[in-house]
């Protein structure tokens, strides 16, 4: 919300309290639209999973759940560092804000790195739908459908992380220029909400994609 970059109450608000509440509601409303967007994908995923349970298990078994679990842990840690950054911002601790934000980016980077390794592996093993796909299975078409969902869902999630990197990097610059104070830290807090949302999406993606039929 770049409206509020200089800490002055923007002209449309009466006071800082109103501004804060408004920005909060705006961010939550935005996150609701994100829930609906991913929700539609999850609904389509669920529909096919019940239609083709066997193919979904097969597709899932080609995924490396250890890498997935590692990434889950990494992302949860990044949520922690993000929360620490918000905490630091609330107390206007400039250095801490910068350190925790950069840590968040690094952890996010590790996640994306692992994702790149995983994607490359799919290319190598002919698991890329529409491009080169061949599995030895009576349900090859349906397994391909599973991988379509795998790439679209994790791809959209990764895109959200990349956008998050851009926003967090902007925050680092703002913190470096000492733009935040105890009265004004909304951008950090709002980015925190966004980042946690992106993490929560992964918390659903991991079991839905990696852990089917491993019970």
């Amino acid at each position: 919300m770049s409206n509020f970059h200089d800490g002055v109450v923007a002209h449309q608000f009466d006071d800082a309290e109103q501004q804060k509440e408004t920005v909060n509601l705006g961010m939550w409303s935005f996150l609701i639209t994100e829930v609906m967007m991913f929700g539609a994908l999850f609904a389509a995923y669920g529909f096919y999973r019940f239609k083709y349970p066997q193919a979904w298990i097969e597709g899932s078994n080609y995924l490396d759940y250890l890498l997935g679990a590692f990434n889950t842990a990494v992302l949860i840690c990044s949520s922690l560092t993000m929360a620490m950054a918000v905490h630091a911002a609330q107390h206007a601790k400039r250095k801490q804000i910068i350190v925790f934000l950069i840590l968040t980016i690094i952890l996010g980077g590790v996640f994306i790195g692992v994702k790149v390794v995983e994607y490359a592996d799919k290319f190598e093993h002919h698991l890329v739908p529409g491009h080169n796909f061949s599995v030895d299975s009576p349900f090859a078409n349906q397994v391909e459908l599973f991988y379509s969902f795998y790439f679209i869902m994790t791809g959209l999630h990764a895109l959200h992380m990349l956008i998050g990197f851009g926003i967090i990097a902007t925050l680092v610059v703002m913190a470096y220029r000492n733009r935040f104070s105890e009265a004004y830290y909304a951008p950090v807090e709002m980015t925190g909400l966004y980042w946690h949302f992106v993490d929560i999406v992964w918390i659903f993606l991991f079991p839905f994609l990696y852990l089917i039929g491993r019970g």
Binding site: V9, H11, D14, T33, M37, L41, N141, E144, L145
Partner: protein, 544 residues
Amino acid sequence: MSTTVEASHHSGTGENYLTAGYGLKSWLMTTDHKRIAILYLLSISLFFVIGGLFAVLIRIELLTPAGDLVSADSYNKLFTLHGLVMIFFFLVPSIPAVFGNFLIPIMIGARDLAFPKVNLASWYVFTIGGLFTFAVVLAGGVDTGWTFYTPYSSTYSKTAVGLTAIGVFITGFSSILTGLNFVVTIHKMRAPGLTWFRLPLFIWAHYATSLIMLLGTPVVAISILLVFLERVFGIGIFDPALGGDPVLFQHLFWFYSHPAVYIMILPSMGVMSELIACFCRKRIFGYSFVAFSSLAIAVLGFLVWGHHMFTSSQSIYAGMVFSILTMMVAIPSAVKVFNWAATMYGGSISYETPMMYAFGFLGLFTIGGLTGLFLGALGLDVHVHDTYFVVAHFHYIMVGGAIMGYLGALHFWWPKMFGRLYPEAWAKLSSIVIFIGFNLTFFPQFLVGYLGMPRRYHVYPDEFQIFHVLSTAGASILAIGYAFPVVYLIWSLVRGEKAGPNPWNAKGLEWTVPSPPTTFNFDETPVVTEEAYDYSRPVEGKVV
């Protein structure tokens, strides 16, 4: 954006939002909700003309039973582009983006929307989406129908489906941003004393509309994106040959696109409440019922999408549930119509142009709504599905309802937006021409549809010709009716009589500020002490 509150105390110098800056940059970089409303007004007027031209070509082609003006392929492109442009680039943004933008902050006593820059961004996003649509036309058009049904759209169509999909996807975000801004603004920016049940019903209607924009648009965005990905990368989400299910697309698409119908009609209903209260000099009968009926329509609207799919392999039991839920939408809609009629009862009605449009809306929306019940009936729908009966039905809602409301709003708030009065006699005449032209265009379509004329065909049996001739004649009258306001409204900008702050003696905060309003709307935040439409008290608003 560091202008502080003090900076707003500059009115009284005769300056208003239009004269606050003259350069192109002062418009393209503005964050003033009123200027953004004007930007939207210009954009959607352009799209209305383009969409209208496609309609004219369709009607000329249908004048004769043979396909003699355009080829079948070109005809497919014409009705697709007509639908796309009119729905995504005119009807969905029309009243919210123009009048919602202009009026919501003023009606609730705020200086601007909650997020002025996001508001400007929404217009740019809309414009980029619009440019994609122009590119589609240059690339030879698109022929899937505005509904993008798979697997035709994702696999077989040879036209510019990918480009169109991206254009619609992008435009969706302008709708999301507008809806988000409105929801937050209505929650958090109301003036002291302006409780929820003192809000004008225009605000309630926009609140309900915005909820649909927030919850529905992301779903259609992702569905269209899936079609795009399927087309570009050859994956099989909706392609039965690859294990996908084309009906799943219909579910996802209509989950948004049915509620989208209410995005188009609810704001118009909000306008109706304002017009009828003002020109009957009465408080709206059953205010809270009208307010909650907007929310009821928004909620029920999300539960009826299956009625578009009675003939697409949906289970008969699902069909029955969707049919019953569809009938239920008639309840809040009827609540509104009856309450407006009850408001008129015993009111001192006057027949200015906006009220003429309100009368037009009431009759046409009622016909459109009642024929909607025919279509919601499971058995009857099988007979009339995909016929001109459906075409006539939704045009009675979209054109008869939404556009009548839009034109009513345009005339009612024109003096507020530009400080000039339009010529009343011309305006009244054109409202009558539009009403006659509209009915002549679309009523014959009910008849020919019931007789079995399918939609989206450019040739038809000879015995249907009389209906098509009537329809095309009506469309010509309608086009003339639409041309009038373009001329006299532009004329009024220069020659129109100066409007005072309150030319209609109406209630509402927007009539207490100068016409046109100043950049920050109010010198001091107003304090609201009365109910909406309290015409029993003398009208204030002599403030200049």
